[in-house]
Symmetry: C2
Subunit: 198 residues, 2 copies
């Protein structure tokens, strides 16, 4: 039985593998499937190893969420860097990333994971904090009510696609919707935004 006992010790790698496996489990079978034994088994180590790297299960799953947020954060930064127009830059990046095709299409898994996170109060707080920080950082260029409206619609979009019946069909309207939302962010900023449209 050549377990991870004999092979070369690679603590960093094992730690990463544990996080990845936890994320994968949550992605494919829901947060309830993320048990310490399942994660450690999937990572090819034992519970003892897991508890060596993470003081508790909570710490593990928070690590997963932190990773996810960091990834999203980096993606948004990358998208913003390519955008020359200041007004609505953050909102465009947000829409572009969250409505990116693989993000939604892959069996709705990303959305399912996101939902699972929001369902857990402590994890929701992490997302909430990140969200607030990001919004506050871009309040000058993206504080407009019109832009908030666009972000709201984007959020509604991925949740709507999660609630579709067959999560594997191609989502043809997604591109059109994204284009429409992006277009709305390109409008000139209004002096005062109210409910006077229509």
């Amino acid at each position: 039985m050549a377990t991870a006992y004999n092979r070369k010790k690679q603590p960093e790698l094992v730690r990463r593998t544990l996080l990845d496996c936890a994320a994968k489990l949550a992605l494919e079978q829901g947060l309830a499937a993320v048990t310490v034994q399942a994660v450690s088994h999937a990572a090819g180590v034992t519970k003892g190893a897991l508890f060596h790297h993470f003081p508790s299960k909570q710490a593990l799953v928070e690590g997963v969420v932190a990773d996810l947020i960091a990834q999203l954060d980096a993606d948004i930064d990358a998208a913003m860097a390519k955008d020359p127009r200041p007004y609505g830059r953050y909102t465009r990046a947000y829409v572009d990333i969250t409505l990116h095709d693989p993000m939604i299409t892959e069996g709705g898994q990303w959305a399912a994971l996101h939902i699972s996170i929001l369902a857990e109060p402590t994890l929701r707080r992490m997302v909430s904090d990140w969200f607030a920080e990001r919004l506050h950082r871009h309040r000058d260029t993206d504080g407009d009510a019109d832009l908030e409206f666009v972000r709201l619609a984007a959020d509604g979009a991925w949740i709507a696609y999660l609630v579709r019946e067959k999560p594997t069909d191609p989502v043809p309207e997604l591109g059109a919707l994204r284009a429409r939302l992006i277009a709305m962010t390109l409008a000139e900023p209004k002096p005062a935004s109210g409910g006077d449209r229509g």
Copy 2:
């Protein structure tokens, strides 16, 4: 110790109480807090009684969700009945109900419960089916892409308010947002809807 043992038998009432307690627990402490012992204890009966009324925990929680959907369904019907205008009638009702103040404001609990439901695959399916049926029923008056857009934004709205930091503050923009969405449903139907706005 006069439990519900000697007391007059009230099966319907006990069944209802079990459902209500389960809903309340989920509302206040999340779906994870909905255990058979917690629910039965809250209802003032024992596990045995619960399993007499429901063949499994799954059946219980599905009953809760079915109740919730029925309630939502009825609310939407009531709102639609007061609306003389055919075009966008369902969408207006949907926006009106889902963005109704107590629905969102009460500690974000309703939203939290909804999220918990969506996080569970089987429960999500129930919502999904209801959603699809309702949408198909109103496809003539509410099949427009503009109206779908409005409903998307409404979904995004309640999820956004869930992700706020302090879930108890008054949500002042809610009324304005709802008014704006309603206004969008009053626009004349376009011959062809694309991404040509802005």
